[in-house]
């Protein structure tokens, strides 16, 4: 099968909208199809990776653990925008998985290198 470079760009916070969760579902299918998958987190998307999510009191299924399982699907290229982290008072230590923190310019270069970019 053809292998393409797929990047999934996440720009929205979790739980307020479903995009983060349904984006993850696409990422896992992309990995199952053995594509070359990477994920970018920028703007409010960096909040998806914030450690310590507990959704019990809002009655919605949490999915922080799914990010931890991405490695099992060989999804290891997670790029996080430095500027978005800083504006939100976050650092890489606040995140639930190991990531590569990059500048917006570097993120743009990764985007340019893709065959398919899907933004959620």
């Amino acid at each position: 099968m053809t292998i393409k470079k797929f990047m999934f760009v996440n720009r929205k916070a979790p739980y307020g909208t479903i995009y983060a969760l349904e984006s993850l579902e696409v990422v896992l299918i992309g990995a199952a199809f053995e594509q070359d998958v990477s994920m970018a987190f920028t703007d409010d998307g960096v909040y998806q990776l914030k450690k310590g999510q507990n959704t019990k009191a809002i009655g919605i299924k949490g999915f922080e653990k799914t990010y931890g399982a991405l490695e099992d699907y060989d999804v290891t290229k997670l790029y996080v925008d430095q500027e978005s982290l800083t504006a939100r008072g976050l650092t890489a230590e606040d995140l639930c998985v190991p990531v590569e923190v990059v500048s917006r310019a570097e993120l743009g270069k990764h985007m340019e290198a893709q065959d398919v970019v899907l933004s959620f």
Binding site: I18, I58, I60, K61
Partner: protein, 130 residues
């Protein structure tokens, strides 16, 4: 005190319906009254009985239906918004020549006047949306 609630987004895509539900339940548990829950815009999509959410997630529609039945809530889906989005009861199906219905138990379809009436009759009206 008399509350009404306006829900402007559909289930799952936005948190609006979940928050509105939690709010409505709390209003009732504190002894207040809910005059009406009105579903407008994509909020009408909360009124379909055809959803089958994943087993490990909540069923937003079933929660509303149960609350309506347990607490005699008046839950109104706006007819104009429902026609645009395909939410249909038997009367609407007949009027518009549709071969199926999908309105969930506990909901009824009616006009926008019901929202204005809710504003007039209630001490407070709270909107949940995008």
């Amino acid at each position: 005190m008399i509350f009404s609630i306006l829900v402007n987004e559909g289930p799952y895509q936005h948190q609006a319906s979940d928050t509105a539900f939690n709010f409505a339940k709390t209003v009732l548990s504190k002894g207040h009254t809910i005059f009406r829950v009105f579903f407008y815009h994509d909020g009408v999509n909360n009124g379909t009985r055809l959803t089958t959410p994943p087993q490990d997630d909540r069923n937003v529609i079933a929660k509303w239906t149960k609350l309506a039945q347990d607490s005699e809530l008046d839950m109104v889906v706006c007819v104009a918004a429902a026609q645009r989005r395909g939410i249909v009861d038997e009367g609407e199906a007949k009027r518009n020549g549709k071969d199926a219905t999908n309105l969930a138990p506990g909901f009824r379809i009616s006009g926008l006047g019901q929202l204005i009436e809710a504003g007039i009759q209630s001490d407070r009206i709270v909107t949940f949306g995008d």
